[in-house]
């Protein structure tokens, strides 16, 4: 029974490895001009645009690119860069100063860049290329009506009126020292209520009155669209947040030409232009690849028509027209089919590996009952780690991409299979076990010919539970660049594009239903075949 599973696993792993093609797959030691440059972004619109511009510019200069857009957040993206899993992504100097390096804020943009660049190079061998030419600072925004009635213009005003206002801040902002904690410390802001909101919904929540204050970015296209008032930082708490490409050690060493290409963008994008690009993406609904291609052309960095067809999949390419969901799904059916296949492969491989470990372990535990509870409880504790946190833990060990995702899904699948194997094997029909022993079966024969077959329906139920959990959890794998149906979900959330979110969420839900139905049928078959009680 185990041999076909093992060979299936080997085939699937080969398949995945051949498709992932990141630096890990190529080997970091050997410089190779053929290795594609891994371009990444964080999960919000501006980061997508800038990364896509990096990617298309490199491609226009004949350098192959591997896109890993929409990585979790600052922590995940920077860790991935530092560990060599990605080569370049857009970051902000203020974020580098405070959130990454943990240094105190300071006001001068040039000084901040110099400090961040020096400290990153020394600590992480990460190079900050000269800034792109605009700043994107935190913009604490309120509705115009709120600003008028409470006479709000500055953050000092916010501190005065805060007790009457409900805030919706991103989790990132609530946690980072240059976010809410800094506001509280510098201005003494006290708010009536603070809710954690996804970036994708904060503008809608503010516009519809769900909250009264949000944290935006000064270059967000939606600030103008919703006619919001940005409160000024009158005590100059925020450091400058100059956007720049940050480049990992491997690319600096292996492909200086690519680094040189990326510096072509330095000082070329001013705040007006960036805000216009964001508006095209977030307000007008133009595809990222188109926005980026047009921008590069307008800057004179690419010739007409170059790079437009470069990106593939809902993350970069595709038409973001305004048609119905069905039309969108039809237009995107090919990338969606390959994302679904990738999703299934992630689930199948992690599940097979989990079965290969949990099944024998569950069997062994039934023979040492003293240790069983402890082991099962430890494995169960893994289950309580939130998916995105578990994925983040994996980065220092396994980088980003397919391997950490597989490993995390594997860990999540262990518990239901282990628990059901243990309980199923222990709970086997006592009469059958006793008869087998009394007629001269060895302990091993009792296990192989009586206990395991009779426990099969229960074990299958555990596998089924694990599979359905896996299908859901695998959508999170997109946060660390592993692909799958989470990719359109993450991108759609970042771009506030409901159709794109649904184009990942609906197939994922259907997949969960199909997996559940198929394994349910297999489980019932097993119950009929093996579970037949003597009545």
């Amino acid at each position: 029974m185990l041999r076909p599973v093992a060979s299936l696993l080997a085939v699937a792993l080969t398949l995945i490895a051949s498709r992932s093609g990141g630096p890990h797959a190529v080997g970091r030691g050997t410089p190779s001009t053929a290795r594609p440059v891994v371009v990444a972004s964080k999960p919000f619109g501006e980061s997508y645009i800038l990364a896509e511009m990096f990617a298309q510019l490199l491609e226009a200069r004949g350098i192959a690119v591997d896109r890993r857009l929409g990585l979790g957040a600052t922590q995940i993206a920077y860790d991935a860069l530092r560990s060599g899993a990605i080569d370049v992504y857009p970051e902000y100097t203020g974020t580098g100063l405070i959130a990454i390096l943990g240094l105190p804020p300071e006001p001068d943009a040039r000084a901040v860049f110099a400090r961040v660049a020096a400290a990153s190079a020394a600590r992480d061998s990460v190079r900050w290329l000269p800034p792109l030419g605009f700043e994107n600072t935190y913009a604490i925004a309120v509705r115009r009506g709120t600003a008028d009635s409470l006479h709000l213009a500055t953050l000092t005003d916010l501190a005065r009126a805060g007790a009457r206002l409900r805030a919706g801040f991103t989790a990132d902002f609530i946690g980072r020292p240059d976010g809410l904690p800094g506001l509280v410390r510098t201005y003494g802001v006290r708010l009536r209520d603070v809710q954690a909101l996804l970036p994708a919904v904060k503008y809608t929540a503010l516009a519809t009155g769900g909250v009264d204050v949000i944290d935006g970015f000064s270059t967000d296209g939606l600030i103008a669209r919703y006619d919001l008032v940005v409160l000024s930082d009158d005590r100059h708490f925020y450091p400058p947040y100059e956007a720049a490409a940050v480049v990992g050690r491997a690319l600096q060493r292996d492909n200086p030409a690519a680094v040189a290409v990326l510096t072509e963008l330095s000082d070329r994008i001013d705040e007006t232009r960036m805000r216009a690009l964001n508006r095209r993406l977030e307000v007008d609904g133009v595809a990222v690849s188109v926005v980026a291609a047009d921008a590069l052309r307008a800057l004179g960095l690419t010739a007409a028509r170059a790079g437009v067809e470069a990106a593939a999949g809902p993350a970069g390419g595709g038409r973001r027209g305004r048609g119905s969901l069905l039309e969108y799904l039809r237009a995107e059916r090919r990338p969606l089919a390959s994302l679904t296949a990738r999703h299934l492969l992630l689930v199948a491989v992690s599940l097979a590996a989990a079965i290969a470990l949990a099944l024998p372990l569950g069997v062994i535990l039934t023979t040492v009952p003293g240790h069983a509870d402890g082991v099962i409880r430890v494995v169960g504790a893994i289950q309580t780690i939130p998916g995105i946190a578990l994925l983040a833990f994996m980065i220092p060990l396994l980088g980003i991409g397919v391997w950490p995702a597989l490993f995390a899904l594997f860990l999540y699948s262990l518990y239901p299979i282990l628990r059901n194997t243990y309980e199923g094997v222990r709970g086997t029909d006592a009469g059958a076990v006793d008869a087998g022993q009394a007629l001269g079966m060895t302990a091993r024969q009792v296990m192989v010919y009586v206990r395991l077959p009779l426990a099969t329906p229960v074990i299958m139920a555990g596998v089924r539970t694990a599979a359905v959990i896996d299908v859901g959890t695998a959508t999170l794998a997109a946060f660390i660049g592993a692909g799958g149906l989470g990719e359109p979900i993450v991108t759609g959330l970042a771009l506030s594009d409901t159709r794109m979110i649904l184009s990942g969420a609906i197939p994922a839900a259907l997949l969960a239903l199909v997996v559940d139905t198929v394994l349910g049928a297999a489980q019932r078959h097993a119950a009929r075949r093996w579970g037949g009680a003597s009545d």
Binding site: D429, G431, A432, D434, A435, G436, Q437, A438, L439, G440, M441, T442, Q445, Y449, V450, P453, L454, R529, W530, G531, G532, A533, S534, D535
Partner: protein
């Protein structure tokens, strides 16, 4: 015990009759004392090998629900590596009056309670052991089926002549099937005697009361 004898162990629940039975095939280790089979102490025989030499019929049949009738009956010959395990199983099924062509490919759940006990007996017989242990083999059956199986068991013993130990709580069954009856109470033997002797001369008030309750005295 004498070779070819059928001994009935009788007593109330908790009297120790099943424990005693299971110590014969080392499913239970006795606290003290020794058990011999063919003059050899069982403590010196590998328990797995010992059990394959001794037939065993539990009360509920203990058939493996995921195996068909023939495979169930072939269990012990198969464990012993016999090439003709299936043929031995079919022969054993015929001994208990089940046509292997009809019943061999059925699942245990497709049989009646009486048929399942017949298969359990066939399974115990298939490797032709010289000793058989039966733990209330007919206790869960209705009266008519029980009588049928008791007749079949008696006929089998007449033709095969194996030694048998039969646990029962039914004195009538003990009288019908056993050459000698052992009455147990709280783990102690109250009396060992042929059924007629037991009826005629109960050795203790407990045995007398037991006979009275069964309406045999």
């Amino acid at each position: 015990m004498n070779t070819g004898e059928c001994l009935a162990l009788i007593g109330e629940s908790g009297s120790g009759k099943t424990t005693l039975l299971r110590s014969f095939n080392r499913m239970v280790a006795p606290d003290a004392g020794a058990i011999f089979i063919d003059g050899q102490p069982t403590a010196g025989i590998d328990p797995v090998a010992l059990r394959r030499r001794i037939g065993y019929v539990p009360q509920d049949g203990g058939l493996l629900p995921h195996w068909r009738v023939r495979r169930n009956a072939a269990l012990v010959p198969w464990l012993m590596g016999a090439a003709d395990a299936d043929a031995q199983a079919d022969a054993a099924l015929r001994l208990v009056s089940l046509d292997p062509a009809v019943y061999g490919d059925r699942w245990p759940r497709e049989l009646s309670g009486g048929q399942r006990q017949r298969v359990a007996i066939a399974r115990a017989l298939a490797a032709r052991p010289t000793v058989m242990l039966l733990d209330e083999p007919f206790g869960a059956l209705d009266a008519i089926t029980r009588a049928d199986l008791q007749d079949a068991f008696r006929a089998l013993r007449d033709s095969l002549g194996m030694t048998a130990v039969l646990v029962t709580h039914d004195l009538r069954e003990a009288r019908a099937l056993a050459d000698r009856v052992v009455v147990l109470r709280h783990g102690q033997v109250e009396q060992i005697a042929a059924p007629d002797v037991l009826l005629a001369a109960p050795a203790t008030p407990y045995v007398a009361a037991l006979l009275a309750r069964a309406g045999l005295h």
